[in-house]
């Protein structure tokens, strides 16, 4: 009897919650400006898993090392390559409001890349339904891709 009940209960326990992050990449005068926005509680959880303490991002009790942890976490989750060269990101800081975290980064580049490869594994280790949307804007050209587990990298090509 229980065997029949389990699938039903399983369906009922699923909440309509969702896991998504948005990464905006803009080319602007010699650098790629990147904003990553994600749910703060998801990031708290990811940092706690990795560094052992809940950083309580964006609260008054924010852990003093939260900024450093966030930087490390983003460095390992978000990898950019411009024309085949690995780009080094500079973490600028973060803001958290209404439960959503905005992280700001900058990647310096000498010239407009004709190809930009973006790998974003943010939160993939925690949620199998995590979706990471990437928006890339260079001049008037705009492109978007959604990454998920198993498809963690995308290549944007710009003509000219």
């Amino acid at each position: 009897m229980k065997i029949f009940l389990y699938p039903l209960l399983f369906l009922a326990f699923i909440r309509h919650d969702f896991h998504v992050s948005i990464t905006e990449i803009h080319w602007n005068e010699g650098e790629l400006q990147v904003t990553v926005r994600s749910f703060t509680d998801d990031l708290d959880w990811a940092l706690e898993e990795q560094f052992g303490t809940n950083p309580r991002l964006g609260t008054e009790q924010e852990h003093p090392k939260a900024m450093l942890w966030m930087e490390r976490y983003l460095n390992q989750s978000l990898l950019l390559e411009g024309d085949g060269k690995v780009l080094k990101g500079e973490y600028l800081g973060m803001e958290s409001e209404y439960g959503i975290c905005f992280c700001f980064l900058r990647f310096s580049l000498e010239a407009k890349p004709s190809q930009l490869s973006v790998e974003n594994r943010l939160l993939f280790e925690l949620f199998d339904d995590q979706r990471n949307v990437i928006h890339y804007r260079i001049g008037l050209d705009e492109q978007a891709e959604t990454l998920h587990r198993g498809e963690e990298k995308t290549l944007f090509t710009t003509t000219k």
Binding site: L8, A12, H16, F18, I22, F102, D129, R131, V133, E145
Partner: protein, 191 residues
């Protein structure tokens, strides 16, 4: 991919997924009370639901209205529970009236608030609000159209090919919807 196609896909996946079980269940229960030969009325009710949730999806994402997410998570299964009960009532089974359209539309408003949390996350702090709204909504509708078509097809097969009564279909799916939504309501009880 263009941002348009990307938003379209996100909207579609937001409905045709396991996590959207509650919306799919609502549609199944809403449709259960109809006989398949009254498919036009059924489409009318689904359209009414669509109008309802499009309104609150747009307003919710614009932050014109803001409702506690925990409350919405509770209200969504409640709409399923009430629709299932309505399907058993005498008035509820008279699908020729306007009652069912009102129910679908008003409950659509509640479901749209659930979508708007997701949508708000997608467009927050961006200038692309309107640009994303159309493809995202369109994706949701396409996904919903797929769900409705599949369910309607099964209803027709059951009634016509197997020559069974639509009343049995209604009792079965309203009962299933009632049971599942009761557990969901208890699970999400916010008070």
């Amino acid at each position: 991919m263009s941002p348009f196609s990307n938003y379209l896909q996100l909207g579609y996946e937001h409905i045709v997924s396991f996590a959207a079980m509650d919306h799919i269940l609502f549609l199944v229960v809403l449709m259960a009370v109809f006989q398949s030969r009254h498919w036009l009325r059924l489409i009318g009710a689904v359209t009414s639901f669509t109008l309802g949730h499009s309104i609150t999806l747009s307003l919710g994402a614009l932050e014109v209205i803001r409702v506690d997410a925990a409350l919405i998570e509770f209200l969504i299964p409640l709409t399923i529970l009430l629709t299932a009960l309505n399907n058993l009532s005498k008035k509820g089974q008279q699908t020729s009236g306007r009652r069912i359209y009102w129910i679908a539309g008003v409950f659509g408003l509640i479901h749209g608030l659930g979508f708007s949390n997701y949508y708000r996350m997608l467009v927050m702090g961006e200038e692309g609000y309107w640009r994303a709204l159309i493809p995202f909504n369109l994706g949701v509708e396409l996904g919903q159209l797929l769900v409705v078509s599949v369910v309607l097809l099964f209803m027709v097969i059951y009634e016509v090919a197997f020559n069974r009564k639509s009343r049995d279909w209604n009792i079965f799916f309203s009962g299933a919807g009632f049971g599942l939504s009761t557990v969901m309501c208890l699970e999400t009880w916010p008070f």
